[in-house]
């Protein structure tokens, strides 16, 4: 099954417009002027969906969809959004049952806007079930992933923020994979820039192996036990790429890689993690306070070895050669690190694939994000050339590198 880039752009735009429509409905009812921040399509393990919500309390309104798209859509509000939203509703009250029914009412109207946009575009009807109200922590606000853990799914996720109040809410649309892939393929205009959609998930598996090896390497070098966490491939407008990273300060490395595919790769640690990982690498106590030049060279070394593992892992599986420049150490606001990379890629394309991995550890404050921005024509070429059986070779080959 093939999905062309044009249809990914179209579906991304549909999800964005749906989120805009839902936000406009809320504004009409409550006067709350929120804005859609990011909309992206992500292909990832079902079990990892909502991982970014971990630990926070949410209120969710879930809907089942039936028709050309089957699946679930959930409107997720940060719990502290609930009362201000309900109180902004004429006649709304934040007391118990009243609050629940007010949130359901708002959710229902927002969702109708969201789903109608899709149905209009697909020239069909999509029914949605009555809203179900859920209060839960983290990903439990989304439909349960029990029994479908390692299945790959498309997630359409929009992040909406309400700047005056610093509150956030999200729309997660989780269509059944096969039907979604069929709808996308049916809406493909051309075959010329088609992406073999089945291979995108293979690519995810390769990336996971590469991340795992990079994580093992961190452990070998520093003694810090890490786990490779979420690995996903997303598709978003180029201007949304820098927003994938928080605006807080990060330390890390950036390289340009060249081959099939070429592009940019950043390995980013939050400041505390960077200090921890750098000090674990140092043979002696650093001279001076804070983040010293010794820390910087330790991060450079770490970035280099992690990059090599990651990029060489792809190259071996794809049986192509991918070179990379020496790492440049960066220490700045996360978005400001990503925006020059997005701008470079944005000179040739309006949307981009973003390959993301995260690793972390429970023992110590340590987390690391890897973001790769491949050129989309070359990524397509790499996927075209990929024989699915070859993904198993990643493990052996990455081991050879280290």
């Amino acid at each position: 099954m093939q999905v062309d880039i044009q249809s990914l752009e179209t579906f991304n735009q549909l999800a964005y417009e749906g989120a805009e429509q839902a936000t406009a409905m809320m504004a009409q009812m409550t006067g709350i002027d929120a804005a859609v921040d990011v909309t992206k399509i992500t292909l990832m393990d079902r079990a990892d969906v909502g991982e970014e919500l971990a630990g926070q309390p949410f209120v969710g309104i879930q809907f089942g969809m039936e028709g050309v798209l089957n699946g679930d859509t959930t409107l997720v509000f940060e719990e502290r959004c609930r009362d201000p939203i309900v109180e902004a509703l004429p006649g709304g009250s934040s007391d118990g049952d009243m609050a629940e029914s007010s949130v359901k009412e708002i959710g229902n109207i927002m969702m109708s806007g969201f789903i109608d946009g899709w149905a209009d575009y697909l020239e069909t009807t999509i029914e949605h079930s009555p809203p179900e109200y859920i209060e839960a922590t983290g990903a439990d606000v989304l439909p349960s992933a029990d029994g479908v853990g390692s299945e790959q799914v498309f997630v359409f996720k929009s992040h909406i923020d309400w700047p005056g109040e610093d509150l956030n809410f999200y729309i997660y649309m989780l269509p059944e994979y096969t039907e979604m892939a069929e709808v996308m393929a049916a809406n493909a205009d051309t075959q010329s820039d088609a992406i073999p959609v089945d291979k995108l998930s293979v690519f995810n598996q390769m990336t996971r192996e590469g991340t795992q090896k990079a994580a093992e390497n961190v452990t070998a070098m520093t003694g810090i036990e890490t786990d490779a966490e979420v690995t996903q491939i997303s598709f978003a407008p180029i201007e949304d790429v820098p927003k994938q990273v928080d605006s807080k300060s990060y330390v890390g490395t950036v390289v340009e890689f060249d081959g099939t595919p070429s592009g940019y790769l950043s390995i980013l640690f939050d400041e505390t993690s960077a200090m921890n990982v750098a000090e674990a690498l140092m043979p002696m106590e650093p001279d001076g306070e804070g983040f010293t030049s010794m820390h910087e060279s330790a991060i450079e070394e770490m970035g280099n070895i992690m990059t090599s593992g990651f990029v060489d892992g792809w190259a071996n599986v794809l049986q192509t050669s991918v070179e990379h420049t020496p790492p440049e150490v960066v220490h700045d606001m996360g978005q400001a690190i990503m925006d020059p990379l997005a701008a470079q890629v944005g000179q040739h394309q309006t949307h981009a694939f973003i390959i993301e991995s995260r690793m972390q550890t429970d023992d110590l404050d340590f987390s690391c994000e890897i973001h790769a921005l491949p050129d989309d024509a070359e990524l397509k070429q790499a996927l075209d050339d990929l024989e699915i059986e070859r993904k198993d070779e990643t493990e052996a080959d990455v081991e050879k590198i280290f």
């Binding site: 804005a35 921040d37 923020d161 700047p163 005056g164 180029i238 201007e239 949304d240 820098p242 927003k243 605006s247 300060s249 950036v254 340009e256 420049t325 440049e328 960066v330 220490h331 700045d332 606001m333 996360g334 978005q335 400001a336 690190i337 990503m338 925006d339 020059p340 990379l341 997005a342 701008a343 470079q344 944005g346 000179q347 040739h348 394309q349 309006t350």
Partner: protein
């Protein structure tokens, strides 16, 4: 006139409306709102202010020229983004005869030299050229260097606060 000093949040300050400007977006205010944008690397923020009309605007552009990529989002490019912001400010009552511009961002923190001049430098050059063609003066700027920036334009005063991760903040 309220002046934002970047450190103390007075009660008047906290009541001032804040509008967030994302990448490849713009906002115009006639009510003295604070217009903010964050995480400028090679991107550029162009703040414009017409004191006489009480109109302020901010656009966050990513690439120099709309001629380079086939994209309908005018606010993404320095040339079309400035033209768009100026026309929206004019609709809100501003006049190009009175508009003054402040520019910040366009750093070259990453050197991928085989691509010629960095995008940050080219963004700055394009902004200067487009503003010049519209006869809008750049009254202050904080561009280039190798660090990221976040901006806050006070719609009441036209003061532009530029904050960087490692170099503190300043009003230009």
């Amino acid at each position: 006139m309220k002046v934002y000093d970047g450190s103390s949040g007075t009660s008047t300050e906290s009541q001032q409306e804040r509008l967030k400007v994302g990448i490849a977006e713009y906002e115009v205010t006639t009510s003295g709102a604070n217009l903010t944008t964050s995480g400028l690397g090679s991107c550029l923020g162009i703040a414009m202010y017409d004191e006489a009309a009480g109109v302020a605007g901010l656009v966050h552009v990513m690439l120099p020229s709309a001629d380079e990529v086939d994209d309908t989002n005018e606010a993404k490019f320095a040339d079309t983004g400035i033209e768009l912001l100026v026309s929206e400010m004019e609709r809100a009552g501003a006049s190009t005869r009175h508009i003054e511009a402040k520019v910040a961002g366009g750093s070259d923190m990453l050197d991928f030299s085989q691509n010629g001049s960095g995008i940050g430098v080219r963004n700055v050059e394009q902004v200067e050229e487009t503003l010049d063609s519209l006869n809008i003066p750049i009254v202050s700027q904080d561009v280039g260097g190798d660090h990221g920036r976040s901006l806050k334009l006070d719609g009441n005063s036209g003061d532009l606060t530029v904050k960087s991760a490692n170099k503190g903040s300043q009003i230009i």
